[in-house]
């Protein structure tokens, strides 16, 4: 029995791995887009919310299909796999992508030239003025130019930004929202967020005497974060557009960038690294495994405490619902519980997570891990409540009567006789809910938490390899779920032993 189970799971893993291997082995030919004039009718990949995305949408009327990706690296991966014909993206990251993929090239024609600026909340004109003054100073002294040269061009690495001596940060904190997947403007190196925008923001803070705090969130959440006050500024290679101006203000531009078109050139991908090399590149090089371990820690932490919240709240809800249903008292309380369960079960967990972070805790500077724990705990409680309620309802009314007739009060009867039996009956369903919750935490990245999934994403955005990080993470989730199932199974057998 046990052996066959193990063989079964091994078989499953190999099937997944084999399927993935086949998927990345295919070679796809040259793009049909060879000049800007080929864009009409083509499938165009963009990064969601970038200016490239906004301009590309003009081609929709001409029969083009725009595929928006959360990350530039995902768009590049889709291009390599032939899922899109070209990718429109910022020039600087484009150079990095092309240098790592021999079969991709940038078209000579520039798609659009644009200015990058810092976004600031509308009402915060004081900060805007201060930043504009600081930017002017940095431009005049040449600091800004040096920062850019340190990341772009032949002299890169030769001009690292160093804070001036004796600088103090007594004027408070400046929170910067960014999306660290946009090399060379912002990206992670050895776990640190670095890049042109980061150095520029550091220089700004040194000038303003403020302390810089960086929040790494999804690109399309940055404006929301600034609007809601979660962040003071948004710096992420952002262009000034009319739509964005409706929601936030922008500083003076700090650099000019170009949107370019990347296509497949029909050459060899040069990417056929051996598995071992791939493994080293994804997990060993630059300590990239730390993304996984750090992420795993967050995933476990969030899941564990969310399960606790879910259990406590779920049992409470279930008992209230059951008591109200059987005694027909406290109808308003019952109605509130019913509404809560309906709303929580009726909306996606991701939306709940975003609402709690960006709406409910909008103006509070709050730890996202805490928010995620609460959000997943609340989400799970609604499901657990119904599971527990079904467990309580399954217990014979005679058990209630036996307890009450002996002189136990309602709570004592529940605690001593009903719940122990109910739990035994619902354990498999509860175990299922734990598993769902554990996997649900994979959306934590949306509020800037580096969980296991996001850790893999970050590796993916550095190595442009889908296979290793995705399969690696899938295996870790699988291992955790198998371990959890084993624990639940053990508990189930222990409780069953009692009754025989």
């Amino acid at each position: 029995m046990k052996l066959s189970k193990k063989i079964g799971s091994l078989f499953l893993i190999f099937t997944i791995a084999a399927a993935a291997l086949c998927g990345c082995g295919n070679e796809i030919g040259e793009s049909k887009v060879k000049t800007i004039d080929d864009l009409p009718g083509a499938i165009i990949g963009t990064q969601l919310g970038t200016t490239g995305d906004i301009y590309a949408s003009d081609y929709e009327e001409e029969g083009s299909v725009i595929k928006q990706f959360n990350k530039g690296s995902d768009a590049i991966m889709a291009l390599k796999q032939g899922k899109v014909d070209c990718v429109i993206i910022d020039n600087e990251p484009a150079k990095k992508y092309v240098s790592m993929n021999q079969n991709l090239s940038i078209l000579d024609e520039e798609f659009v030239v644009e200015d990058y600026a810092i976004c600031i909340a509308k009402e915060n004109t004081e900060l805007k003025d201060k930043i504009n003054l600081a930017l002017a100073d940095l431009k005049e002294k040449g600091t800004l130019n040096e920062i850019i040269l340190n990341y772009i061009g032949d002299e890169s690495g030769n001009h690292p930004y160093v804070s001036p001596e004796g600088v103090n940060h007594s004027n408070g904190k400046l929170v910067m929202a960014t999306n660290a997947q946009f090399e060379p403007y912002e990206y992670r190196e050895n776990g640190e967020i670095v890049g042109i925008d980061v150095d520029m923001a550091t220089a700004l803070c040194d000038y303003l005497g403020m302390e810089l705090e960086i929040q790494d969130i999804e690109f399309d959440s940055i404006i929301t974060a600034v609007q809601s006050g979660k962040a003071d500024i948004g710096v992420a290679g952002m262009t000034i557009t009319e739509d964005r101006l409706k929601n936030v203000n922008f500083s003076d531009p700090y650099t000019t960038a170009t949107q370019v078109i990347i296509v497949r050139n029909g050459g060899d991908s040069g990417n056929l690294l051996q598995l071992k090399e791939k493994f080293e590149n994804n997990f060993i090089k630059d300590n990239r495994w730390k993304f996984i371990t750090d992420g795993l820690l967050h995933t476990i932490q969030i899941s564990f405490f969310a399960v606790l919240i879910g259990i406590v709240l779920g049992f409470l809800l279930a008992i209230i619902r059951f008591t109200c249903d059987t005694t027909r008292k406290f109808r308003i309380l019952n109605w509130i519980c019913k509404m809560y369960i309906t709303v929580i079960r009726g909306t996606p967990a991701m939306i709940q997570l975003l609402i709690i972070y960006y709406v409910i805790f909008a103006s509070v500077n709050i730890n996202p891990v805490f928010v995620a724990t609460v959000a997943f705990g609340l989400n799970s409680s609604a499901y657990m409540a119904e599971i527990v309620r079904s467990g309580i309802s399954s217990i014979d009314i005679g058990q209630f009567e036996a307890g009450r007739s002996m002189g136990f009060n309602y709570v004592q009867t529940m605690w001593n006789f009903i719940l122990p039996q109910a739990i035994r009956n619902i354990l498999p369903a509860l175990g299922n809910e734990f598993i769902v919750l554990l996997k649900e935490t994979s959306i934590s990245g949306y509020i800037g938490i580096i969980d296991l999934t996001r850790g893999g994403d970050l590796i993916r955005s550095r190595t442009y390899d889908a296979f290793m990080p995705l399969i690696g993470i899938a295996l870790i989730y699988l291992a955790m779920v198998m371990f959890l199932s084993m624990l639940v199974g053990k508990l189930e057998r222990r409780l069953k032993n009692d009754v025989k």
């Binding site: 058990q399 002189g407 009692d498 025989k500």
Partner: protein, 245 residues
């Protein structure tokens, strides 16, 4: 109400929606009496018993236990219930607890008896019904008759003044009825007050000190077993006895 009265029932009424089950029951039960309640099915026997410890809340009327009105909202019902244990038709043992734990949980949690003392008492009771070897077993491992004997022990472990039996042998296979009735007979000899809803006419004749016949939600006859069985007065009682005897 004399000093000797254990339970005093005044004009007890109980309806479920439009259906009136008890329609003004007046009854006094003295200490040490073994009362058997007879009646055709649907006459309200079980409802009367369940009203006595308020598993069913009466629609109207008063019930006194030892001079305390238990139907009054001011009464600590849980305290009163501890004086009056119930034995159910379907035993209602706690399946997640061992036989010993079924017997000790009440005294330990409600009367704060320490574990050693509660277990000693429980073992004595189990020995009395011949089930001391089953102490570590779980209810599902027992036969119906054994379960009901354990249920009686569970009631006795709380040292009640009254035990209510709600058709204690109805769910048993015929060959197991005897062992449970034997335990009840022995119990009757100890002088504890017993109120028993049953169809066991033999038990009523031999053990009861008083037989009550319920009909249409009221006490139709209330007499000694001898009078009831040899010279029944109420026509419905005569009809009932002719069917069951």
């Amino acid at each position: 109400m004399s000093n000797n009265t254990m339970i005093h029932i005044e004009n007890l009424k109980k309806s479920f929606g439009d259906l009136t089950v008890l329609n003004g029951v007046d009854l006094d039960i003295n200490k040490g009496e073994v009362v058997v309640i007879l009646g055709p099915s649907g006459c309200g026997k079980s409802t009367l018993l369940r009203c006595l410890n308020l598993l069913e809340v009466p629609t109207d009327g008063k019930i006194f236990l030892d001079d305390t009105e238990i139907t009054s909202p001011k009464t600590d019902l849980n305290k009163q219930r501890q004086k009056m244990m119930m034995v159910f038709q379907h035993f209602n043992l706690f399946p997640h607890l061992s036989i010993l734990e079924n017997l000790t949980i009440g005294p330990m949690k409600l009367k704060k008896v320490n574990k050693a003392e509660a277990e000693e008492k429980a073992m004595k009771l189990l020995k009395r019904v011949g089930l001391e070897s089953k102490a570590k077993d779980y209810p599902n491992q027992l036969s119906g008759g054994q379960k009901q004997r354990v249920a009686i022990c569970r009631a006795l472990a709380m040292e009640p003044e009254v035990i209510l039996f709600d058709e204690p042998t109805s769910a048993l296979d015929p060959e197991m009825v005897g062992e449970v009735l034997d335990v009840m007979k022995n119990l009757a000899e100890t002088g504890i007050t017993m109120i028993c809803v049953t169809h066991e006419i033999g038990f009523a004749r031999e053990v009861a000190s008083r037989v009550i016949f319920l009909d249409q939600g009221k006490v139709a006859e209330d007499a000694s077993p001898k009078e009831v069985f040899q010279s029944p007065k109420h026509p419905r009682l005569k009809e009932f006895l002719s069917k069951v005897m």
